[in-house]
Symmetry: C2
């Protein structure tokens, strides 16, 4: 585990969000790749197979630089932004979820609207989530493989 | 990662099998729990969602003590035993797969017969695999959570 100081601001938010989602029985995978060319900050998987994408923005500039977030909507049942208490939340588009986070915890302020994945997309995405999570775990368990 | 000497004999086989399966583009999860009361030595997940169970037996006594393996058949598309070169393979039941392994590598000697999972079972099992893999990865990344 990285000491806090070595985490980038976005990673600190992601950690807090992941902890809070665990309390809702969602597991999370950081920097998950739902499709070639896309990489989401956090993909969370719920007890019934719900897939949520959470994009963590450390500030206004970080948010303004994001050109890809609308592409993520097709790869989740709900979409959220995670920001810290200083973030100007009025910037964020309507119809997206909002999570207030720090490095230690987080709170869902507004649920992302539900946009359920179609069956085939959900199946493929769950498989990718599985394979990326297990592949990373395997690399940690057996780094010499 | 554990140094070799700290792995139990069955864990050494599991590591060799996991490495060999990686070459077939299967990721693996050790001690996966497919259902309450069941725990398989290795569950492997293939690129098309194939689910294989591999039970690792360090010797005759280890094999003879196994009362649960037939229950695992309902939770995989193929079932294999993994044993080392000294194992008396004539003991193993017909109609099961065989992998010859050591701590470093493995070779599939006989494919387990294909017994495709039904859709609902596959879906539930893939979700469990995902959640167990991501949950363990998360515990390693953020042990203080």
């Amino acid at each position: 585990a990285l000491p806090d100081a070595r985490l980038l601001p976005g990673q600190r938010l992601a950690r807090g969000v992941a902890r809070a989602l665990m309390a809702l029985d969602f597991v999370s995978l950081e920097e998950m790749i739902p499709a070639p060319g896309l990489r989401v900050d956090l993909m969370a998987l719920g007890p019934k197979g719900e897939l949520w994408v959470i994009e963590c923005k450390s500030g206004r500039a970080d948010y303004a630089a994001d050109r890809k977030w609308q592409g993520y909507l097709d790869y989740c049942d709900r979409f959220f932004w995670a920001v810290d208490a200083d973030f100007p939340t009025a910037l964020l588009p309507e119809g997206t979820g909002l999570i207030l986070a720090d490095a230690y915890d987080a709170e869902i302020i507004r649920m992302g609207p539900e946009t359920p994945l179609a069956g085939a997309r959900r199946k493929a995405l769950t498989l990718k989530f599985s394979r990326q999570a297990a592949g990373r775990l395997q690399a940690l368990r057996d780094p010499r493989a």
